[in-house]
Amino acid sequence: MARKVSDTRRWTFTILAWGVALAIFFPILWTILTSFKSEADAIASPPKFLFFNWTLENYAEVQSRSPYFRHFLNSVIISVGSTLLGLLFAIPAAWSMAFQPAKRTKDLLMWMLSTKMMPAAGVLIPMYLLFRSSGLLDTRIGITVVLMLINLPIITWMLYTYFREIPGEILEAARMDGASLGKEILYVLTPMAVPGIASTLLLNVILAWNEAFWTLNLTTSKAAPLTTFIASYSSPEGLFYAKLSAASTMAIAPILILGWFSQKQLVRGLTFGAVK
């Protein structure tokens, strides 16, 4: 039965919700607006909100100063690559934990997650030295592997949760029907878990795209993704807010667009199994 909601209540909550949404979105909005200002307008006090001289010069400047497209390509390769590589390991791992659990499976899952609680700065020096001695510094393959390892616990956990929702009897039926383990995963499990796998993929691409700590520390130019591209604008020459904003806008635009088009899938994936 629907609950009765008074008009005042409805209005209060609508305004409140919009307020919160705007507060969350404001930094992004401000960055986008600033990217169209001149450097002088960008630091003007009081700040100018909409009434300033709109200009595209920052974008032109950023384009000419650093190769946006190369960084963009690196970002795509690193985020998509690390996610696909992660799925390759996580699908069999999640399958075995969901359908052939051992006594310590729960502990193993907790332990995997606990690695996410470790402060990254604590292992930066050893990682850096390892990368240097094995020649992986500033290589796409090196940073891809690191990001895969960092996100692997989350990928495995998410897939594990989705797989758990699939009734074991269906897999047993497949086994009775003569499906080998490989065919069981290919024809029955994976198609049934597609919504879950898709949202895991999307979320991890976003996480890897935005990852800044390791990408900033382990890449400099050749393998540098968009995070490094942004950071290069908070340079020793001084802060250039407008150009920094233009760079940021260009960096977040692809992922924002991806997120916008896949939001239905993302939300469905994240709330998967909450209601049956």
Partner: protein
């Protein structure tokens, strides 16, 4: 062919012994029902036959061949699950054809067999639908269709009707029985419902705590139960048990009388009591009677039997219809 032999089949999950050792012979073409209260190990026994669980010790033979350690698909058995276990992302046609596809059968033969099975099960109009668009009964038929197309040597059913509503359950019960007549293939059927067991089985296997209590035809079990457990489990409503003086007068620890085997009188008889609830079903009346000794029994009377709550009644067990049990619960 489809004979199944279990030799001292044992199953333990860690320390817990679920099936302490079962010997059983299922003949080709038989309809065998495993029945027992929940937790008695009947589903586990079926899963052992299917190969979905590994036996701890013992041997399983199908058509004389040792399949104890063979993979499920190698046993030539087909199984119908309680939850139907249909593949939700495939059409009915693909669901039914799946085992054939796994066997690498050519497309034309697949189509022929799917068409044949769909014909038998009245599914021809639903072949392009997804399982989600079907009713419970139709889904159950698809699950059976998926089992039929493989032309297995035996069918295994794991409580296939318990997710259906009462009316549909009766229909499907008849359909499965008819299917058995038509195919003449061995069927092993697990249920906790003794009515299903009585109406469908050629042979009933009554299980309790993983042990086979008795094996026999429905009427054999009804007429000659081996012990008190089987006597109480088979037949509806359940058999009444009386202990104490009445029993010892007949040289037994306890006697059993089925609800339909009492003579009833409102003036005299062997066992006086008071009517508690009278359930008038039209064709029958079930009387819940509190005997003067404190025992509660159920008696079946004809539909128009004129008694009501609180009336005095005398029950007399019919001669030759009394089951006698010793102190270990075994039939005398």
């Amino acid at each position: 062919m489809g004979s199944i032999t279990l030799k001292q089949v044992r199953k333990a999950f860690g320390e817990v012994e679920v099936i302490p050792g079962v010997d059983l012979q299922i003949n080709d073409g038989e309809f065998v029902v495993f029945v027992g209260p929940s937790g008695c190990g009947k589903s586990t026994l079926l899963r052992l036959i299917a190969g979905l669980e590994d036996v701890t010790s013992g041997q399983i033979l199908i058509d004389g061949q040792d399949v104890t350690h063979a993979a499920p698909a190698k046993r030539k058995l087909a199984m119908v699950f309680q939850s139907y276990a249909l593949y939700p992302h495939m059409s009915v046609r693909k669901n039914i054809a799946f085992p054939l596809k796994m066997a690498g059968m050519d497309a034309a033969e697949q189509d022929r067999r799917v068409g044949h099975a769909a014909g038998i099960l009245n599914l021809t109009d639903y072949l392009e639908r997804r399982p989600g668009q079907l009713s419970g009964g139709q889904r159950q038929r698809v699950a059976i269709g998926r089992a039929i197309v493989r032309e297995p040597s035996a069918f295994l059913f794991d409580e296939p009707l318990s997710n259906l509503d009462a009316a549909l359950r009766v229909n499907m019960r008849v359909e499965i029985s008819e299917l058995h007549k038509k195919l003449a293939t061995t069927m092993v059927y697990v249920t906790h419902d003794q009515v299903e067991a009585m109406t469908m089985a050629d042979k009933i296997v009554v299980l309790r705590a993983g042990r086979v209590e008795q094996v026999g035809s429905p009427l054999e079990l009804y007429r000659n139960p081996a012990n008190r457990f089987v006597a109480g489990f088979i037949g509806s409503p359940n058999m009444n048990f009386l202990e104490g003086e009445v029993a010892s007068r007949m040289g037994a620890h306890a006697i059993g009388v089925r609800p339909g085997h009492f003579r009833m009188s409102t003036s005299d008889g062997l066992l006086p009591g008071t009517v508690g609830v009278a359930e008038h079903l039209g064709s029958d009346t079930f009387l819940h009677v509190d005997l003067d000794g404190g025992t509660h029994v159920i008696a079946r009377a004809e539909g128009e039997f004129p008694v009501h709550h609180g009336d005095r009644i005398w029950l007399t067990p019919q001669e030759g219809r009394i089951y006698r049990f010793n102190d270990k619960g075994l039939s005398l």
